[in-house]
């Protein structure tokens, strides 16, 4: 851990927009605007030369001009193996592209603060799987950050909202509909601790899908009129996409939007009313509703058990989302949450709670509250338990100042299992870490040789629900070899250790010889150390503005 006054950036690395925030000495978490002065930075990169690119609004402007050299929605490809994009003869993995965005944020933050910033906490959608999480962490390290932890976006949003409401017991639901990902999470605040109860989502559903519905509609109308499809050509498509995107945004405030289409000398003006738009995207909203119900079911709660719900992500500005949630819950969304910024702010706060326990603002709070309690006792602000009255006698102010400590409990959002053979030597999956196990956790299972005289065992780590290999994802493996050959039934112990930083370690032990292999599993699709060093150097060298 670095020195106490260094800054940890909380970064919301979004599909369409990214933002960053940090906690100042006084305990306030501020959004750090980028070099252009905007609180959020578009997650868009335009390559204008070999290893030279521009990130943000400027890149967005280039989409219609030079679409093949612009990359957006990188987050949707995170953790995908074999996915690379080529610009000026150089190929880039999704990790590297995200790293470019992160380096732009890092440079801007260092410029604004006038000092070096190394530590960061990066958010990911709660429903991201292990590969996507590890890819995000890799992106951070490629950008030159020391990534202290990866936290879930809804958790971050809930922190920024819940900070004002500590001490009261409430259940909150975070509805996070971003540009490309969707998450619903139920959390509870109990005293000063914040715990995730259940979570579900879709890493492939976001505002982009609403844009596409509008785009398809407009293109269909145009096609009917002229028999030509503007989606077929790159530049008209990009132009139309931009227009649809803006029309979608205006439909949140106006009842009608007009989208002009120019293609091959033909011109059409398509008017779309809010009702039409809502009809076009009704099934997307239905998916959101289903997800909400699934999450509540998983949390064993009803809508009436939810005290507040928070909206995060720009797409929650669409009136249809509010209407749906009001219909379901009978409540209005919580006020005072900026859907674009709350995740970054929460990440900044989480960074301090987790990694900077000696932060001056936390100390100030402790000092201001460890005085005479109304009942005459002393309470520890972190655990809410009585303390020894060692600070009695020191002058104490009655109004707390600074930042109260919050204990954050994240959970494993996907079950983690192991591939085994059953008594009939048929393959099946056994879950070692069930869904929503609070982190960190440590689960062990006893298994055995399936055949006589095996000399090695391979533990295949799976992620997801299901009984057989096709239904789950094998995310990596650990091999314990050079074992003495023994008959079937020889016991083997497997321990899964999942840390708060969302890193899974696996121990495989031969019970009889006590031979153990411990490994951080090699996630499929992740890049190895040598590549990482190379990529880091490349990102460092690249000209990014």
């Amino acid at each position: 851990m670095s020195s106490d006054d260094s800054i940890i950036l909380g970064i919301d690395l979004g599909t369409t927009f990214s933002a960053m925030a940090f906690v100042d000495r006084h305990g306030k978490c501020n959004i750090l605007p980028n070099a252009e002065g905007h609180p959020t930075t578009a997650s868009v990169i335009h390559f204008y030369d070999k290893e030279a690119c521009v990130v943000g609004e400027e890149a967005v402007k280039m989409v219609v001009v030079d679409a093949t050299n612009v990359v957006r929605f990188v987050k949707r490809y995170m953790g995908e193996p074999d996915f690379t994009l080529e610009f000026f003869g150089k190929s880039y993995t999704p990790q590297e592209l995200s790293a470019i965005i992160l380096r732009k944020l890092k440079d801007d933050a260092e410029e604004a603060m006038g000092r070096k910033i190394d530590d960061a906490v990066i958010t990911v959608p709660a429903y991201f799987n292990a590969a996507q999480r590890s890819a995000t962490a890799d992106a951070g390290s490629l950008a030159g950050f020391n990534v202290l932890s990866i936290i879930n976006e809804p958790t971050a949003a809930a922190i920024s909202y819940g900070l004002e409401r500590l001490g009261t017991d409430r259940n909150i639901l975070v509805f996070d509909l971003g540009g490309g990902t969707f998450d619903v999470t139920v959390m509870e605040i109990r005293g000063t601790s914040l715990r995730t109860i259940a979570s579900d989502g879709n890493a492939e559903l976001g505002g982009k899908d609403w844009d596409d519905r509008l785009l398809n509609h407009v293109a269909d109308v145009f096609q009917q009129q002229f028999g030509l499809d503007p989606r077929d050509d790159l530049q008209p498509y990009q132009e139309l996409y931009e227009r649809c995107l803006h029309a979608k945004i205006s439909l949140s405030t106006k009842p009608l939007a007009v989208i002009p289409v120019n293609y091959r000398g033909h011109r059409a003006v398509v008017a779309v009313t809010r009702e039409e738009f809502e009809a076009l995207s009704a099934d997307l909203l239905q998916q959101c509703e289903d997800t909400c119900n699934i999450v509540l079911e998983k949390a064993r709660m009803k809508w009436s058990d939810i005290d507040d719900f928070i909206l995060a992500g720009g797409s929650t500005r669409m009136p249809m989302v509010h209407v749906m949630l009001k219909r379901l819950s009978g409540k209005e969304a919580a006020r005072g949450v900026n859907p674009d910024e709350c995740v970054a702010v929460g990440a900044g706060l989480a960074a301090v709670f987790r990694h900077r326990v000696e932060h001056p603002a936390l100390q100030a709070y402790r000092l201001s509250t460890t005085g005479a309690h109304p009942e005459g006792g002393f309470l520890d602000p972190v655990s809410n338990t009585p303390m020894s009255p060692k600070t009695a006698g020191t002058p104490v102010s009655r109004t707390p100042v600074g930042l109260p400590g919050v204990r954050i409990t994240d959970v494993a959002t996907h079950p983690l299992g192991i591939v085994v053979l059953d008594a009939n030597l048929k393959e099946r999956i056994i879950n070692l870490i069930p869904e929503f196990t609070p982190l960190p956790c440590d689960k062990r299972g006893r298994f055995a040789y399936a055949y006589d005289n095996m000399t090695a065992v391979r533990v295949e780590v799976t992620e997801g629900h299901g009984d057989n290999r096709d239904e789950v994802t094998v995310i990596g493996d650990v091999i314990l070899d050079q074992l003495p050959p023994r008959p079937r039934g020889t016991p083997i112990e497997v321990v899964y250790r999942y840390t708060v930083n969302q890193i899974l370690e696996v121990d495989v032990t031969d019970v009889e010889t006590r031979q153990t292999r411990r490994a951080r599993i090699n996630l499929r699709g992740s890049i190895d150390e040598a590549q990482k060093v190379q990529a880091r150097e490349r990102i460092r060298r690249a000209s990014i503005t």
Binding site: D200, D212, R231, V419, I479, P485
Partner: protein, 634 residues
């Protein structure tokens, strides 16, 4: 290039309506590598720009992800390409000609499809190849597969299969099934597949949640089911007819038309033997491979074969039953403490009996905590089931006339048992008498004081010492759980007041009685009887034997034990082995004691009490109540 990758590429281009990848890139089949390279690069750039375009998204993503594979196929592995996609492959040309003619004559129906597959197999072409070419030629001819348009998105999928639900599931069950599948589909890593699945699931759910539409679908499904059967038979007939015609040449359209006309009636014609034996199914896709094929040659006993297969996955089995089969278990029969009287100075040797109650090797150590107790062998013989460890007790090393010490057996698998020794050395009579006198006086005084104290104080809470046979039962007092295990010291509610004692264990009849404890302590032994409805389970599943039943078990443990004794079996656990023939038929039932000579096993037929039904699957089944192990040998 892997077969799967090749098939993916083929399917992709076929789905876009191009018979070969080169046709997709707008190139002639004899394009030069240079031209291919340029076309590939151009298309990749296009894909990069269109990857977010909803219309081209999946196409663009596929091109980006498999770019390297396509390049390898088109440029580096050109001969593979040619073999697979046509140029210079007479079999493919023949198939194409046949497909084209058949489609032109008969349209695109399930019957045609099946016939083409049969023909493809004759040409040693894979079904997927036939389907891809059928699809692309049909698209060229602007044909739609009959029946497709009716079912819409769901296509020919069986919705119930898709939802993993039974066709007579209730709406609530269907909804649960839908939700589960939906959740699962969304968690898939293969996004294209997930997308297709989600769309299909959505469409299915829309049909199934509406009772009317569901009824319609069910009717249609029943029809389809019949049709499939007919198609199967018809295609077989068609294949036969075609086969006769195409031994040397492509069949004429007339032959094909004739075949098609006959095909639907084929089901009524006499049964025909398949043309060739069904292509053998590939071995099940075991990714876990035994070092030696388990069903075939096992290494002869005593000659362990050391095999390691690099790059292959190696099996890791689950389950307590596997462990139970193998795990050693330490049993030390000596009752602690061992009270011994030693001679004055001569050492004696005492044998500590150590048993391996489980199976497998049991390496371990024997240690003592005092100098006068010396294990003469300090390691366990790992292979031996029952062994005696000689322990020397040397009175000369005792510091006084009495001694307390212990010997502990520790196994490498983590079990330990300690045996306490209390010894007394023979001494002269006088000191012994003196000692007795002192002890007597002290004892008397203590008893007197104790009696006085008893009188002064209200009675102490009563203590019930309970021993349960068999162990691991649940004990409750007045309905609330009090303890579980074999031996208990319980505190009943009130001294002298009756309370209800209940002891239960799965598979045994619960024991219940009213007990009054009026002394300060009270010993009781409860012996449970086997219950008649004891469930026989192995690995959590009921044991079911197809149409076979055995009368094995006696009512009470003691009776069963007597039965065993009559057969010369004295120790538990006992292994009941079902001898099964290769066809799964049960040939006999063996009963043998652990560690006994297996040849001494004799069939056990006890009194008829209950029928035990077993599935003849190999494995080890445990009958928990008696800790019998039932081994079904393949």
């Amino acid at each position: 290039m892997e077969r799967r990758e090749l098939e993916d590429i083929e399917r992709f281009f076929a789905s876009l309506g191009h018979r070969t990848p080169l046709a997709y890139f707008g190139l002639p089949e004899d394009a030069t590598p240079g031209a291919i390279d340029v076309a590939l690069k151009k298309r990749r750039t296009w894909a990069q720009g269109q990857q977010a375009n909803p219309k081209y998204r999946s196409e663009a993503l596929f091109l980006i992800k498999t770019n390297a594979g396509i390049r390898r196929l088109l440029i580096d592995e050109r001969d593979l390409y040619d073999r697979h996609f046509g140029a210079g492959n007479p079999k493919l040309e023949e198939l194409d000609a046949l497909i084209r003619k058949t489609l032109e004559t008969g349209g695109w129906t399930a019957v045609v499809e099946a016939a083409m597959r049969t023909h493809g197999r004759r040409l040693e072409l894979d079904d997927s190849v036939v389907e891809a070419r059928l699809g692309s030629i049909a698209r060229e001819l602007n044909l739609v597969r009959q029946g497709d348009e009716d079912l819409g998105t769901v296509g020919s999928l069986d919705i119930y299969e898709l939802l993993a639900a039974s066709p007579d599931a209730t709406p609530a069950e269907l909804e649960t099934a839908y939700r589960n599948r939906y959740r699962w589909a969304r968690s898939l890593k293969d996004l294209d597949r997930a997308g297709r699945l989600l769309a299909a699931l959505d469409a299915s759910w829309r049909i199934l949640r509406d009772p009317e539409r569901r009824a319609l679908y069910d009717a249609r499904r029943a029809e389809l089911g019949d049709a499939t059967e007919e198609v199967d038979q018809a295609s077989q007939r068609l294949g036969e007819l075609l086969a006769g015609a195409v031994v040397d040449e492509t069949p004429s359209p007339e032959t094909v038309a004739e075949a098609l006309r006959q095909a639907p009636r084929a089901s009524k014609t006499a049964e025909t033997a398949p043309l060739r034996p069904e292509p053998e199914k590939p071995p099940p896709a075991f990714r876990m491979v035994a070092p030696t094929a388990p069903s075939e040659a096992r290494p002869p006993p005593g000659m362990p074969e050391v095999t390691s297969i690099p790059g292959r996955t190696i099996g890791l089995a689950t389950g307590p039953q596997m462990l139970r089969e193998r795990a050693p278990r330490l049993v030390v029969s000596a009752r602690s403490p061992v009270r011994l009287r030693l001679p004055r100075s001569r050492p004696i040797v005492w044998a500590l009996k150590v048993e391996n109650g489980g199976q497998g090797r049991m390496p371990g150590r024997v240690v003592s905590d005092v100098a006068w107790l010396v294990p003469l062998r300090d390691t366990l013989a790992p292979e031996v089931a029952v062994q005696e460890i000689p322990i020397e007790l040397d009175p000369a090393k005792l510091s006084g006339n009495t001694g307390l010490g212990s010997v502990t057996v520790v196994t490498d698998h983590g079990e330990r048992r300690t045996v306490q020794f209390e010894v007394e050395r023979s001494t002269l009579v006088a000191p012994l008498l003196g000692l007795l006198l002192v002890a007597g006086i002290a004892g008397g005084a203590w008893a007197g004081w104790r009696a006085w104290e008893q009188a002064q104080r209200p009675p102490e809470p009563a203590v019930l010492r309970l021993r349960v046979d068999p162990p691991s039962a649940v004990v409750s007092i007045d309905g609330s759980l009090a303890a579980s295990g074999a031996k208990h010291t319980l505190t009943p509610p009130r001294h002298g007041e009756p309370f209800r004692l209940r002891v239960e264990r799965e598979g045994f009849r619960a024991h219940e009685e009213m007990v009054t404890v009026d002394a300060t302590s009270f010993d009781r032994t409860v012996r449970l009887e086997l219950s008649d409805d004891m469930s026989w389970t192995g690995n959590g599943q009921p044991l079911v034997l197809a149409e076979k039943s055995f009368d094995v078990v006696s009512r009470q443990k003691s009776e069963l034990a007597a039965c065993f004794k009559g057969m010369g079996v004295t120790s538990l656990p006992v292994t009941l082995a079902l001898r099964t023939a290769e066809d799964g038929q049960i040939r006999g039932l063996d009963l043998r004691a652990e560690g006994a000579d297996p040849t001494g096993a004799r069939p056990c037929v006890a009194r008829v009490v209950r029928q035990l039904r077993l599935t003849p699957t190999p494995g080890v089944w445990s009958i928990g109540a008696l800790s019998l192990l039932l081994t079904v040998e393949p």
